[in-house]
Amino acid sequence: MGYARDVGALARKDLLLELRARDTLPAMLLFVGSVFVVFHFALPGTSSRLATAGLLWVAILFTALLGLGRAFVPEREQRTFDGLVLAPCDRSAIWLAKSLATLAFLVAAELVALPLYALFFHSVGGATVAAVALADLGICGVGTFLGAMAVATRARDLILPLLFLPLAMPIVVGAVGATVVDSPGRYLGFLALYDLLFAVICWASFEYVVAE
């Protein structure tokens, strides 16, 4: 209960900051929109389901990476990390709140991306939506965690994709599978398992990332 309120307060702060500075969401929207538009004109209409599913997932992954790279920019630029670290809330709440804020941006970008995908390429079924939802959780959870790690390093923007992309590979495999095959149950299960597993590690070890 108290934990949820902490997460709420922190996530609210991130949304407010985005509202003021509009740093993240416009870039994500622009990116994902233009990827689909460009591919629409570049890809002949009859592309295989597998190819366009790959396209969808790569677009989502890179859009997410864009948002993740900026997730900790306010804390870094204004050096407010110390304030959060000192607050009495469980440190994992910082991670959870930041993940939720990034998730909100990613979902907003996908609310534009998925209709565009359906318009230009293939229809989007329930399995795809479920896969997107599950993959989003994993991407934002793991990505935010790595983002916090990257902030502490000197070559931040190099480190984040380097750490993130290998960790996101299983998500892509699972998600493309769920989008393409007829009975996506196993793939969705795998994605849920991934989310669960990594959520637990992130949740348990975030403390060590932010505190010395």
């Binding site: 790690m149 390093t153 480190i159 960790l167 599978g177 398992l193 070890s205 990332v209």
Partner: protein, 237 residues
Amino acid sequence: MNRSAATIQAVGRTRISLPVLAGASLVLVTTALAFVFFVAPNDADQGFSQRIFYFHVSIAITAYGCFAGAAWKALRHLWKRDPRADLESYVFVHQGVIFGTLVLLTGSIWAKISWGHWWLWSEDQLVLFLVLFLFYCAYFMLRFSVDPGPQRANLSAVYALFGVVLIPVSFAAIRLSKQLIHPVVFTRDGPNFHGWILVTYCLAQVALPVLAYTLYRLELSAKRLDGRLRDLREVLA
């Protein structure tokens, strides 16, 4: 736990001395080499070149062992605050990456011989190993872009833990996505080879981890010596 207590514990714990280890690994590796080249029979359809398999497989397993060791030490660092664990974890990753390079090399040689290509992007298992390998390469990037100190130790440790979770998850993903094209030795019916082949394989499988452990201890003691020298220089200054 403070430093002096840790030192006492380290002294109290009996460890095989480095020279003994080095000797053992020398003997084991030479025996394994001798077996591979002189004792094991030629493979029925791949001939002499198949012998690289003994090393390829056991090196791969050794590399995974090193990564697991790194994660174990990382856990000790985070949980028990063992002051030596950070360096130990790092050295394990280092050894793991060295052996990972060897996996890529031996695998590529074998692939050239038996498939005619150095590398196949269509082989999920190969790509998977490459991704894992790169993941651990990124460990160095991470570690060396943070100043030495408690924070670096924490970040490295957390990363090593992520790795050991990523490995099985990636395997699951591959297994899920399609039937393995890459040969599977350990099927549900147990190893599908017998006799001298098995003996040779087991020998290599013992020799390489021992070699890895020796290298690990060697690097560790060199690194420790560096640290002590630095302390000494500071005391003198």
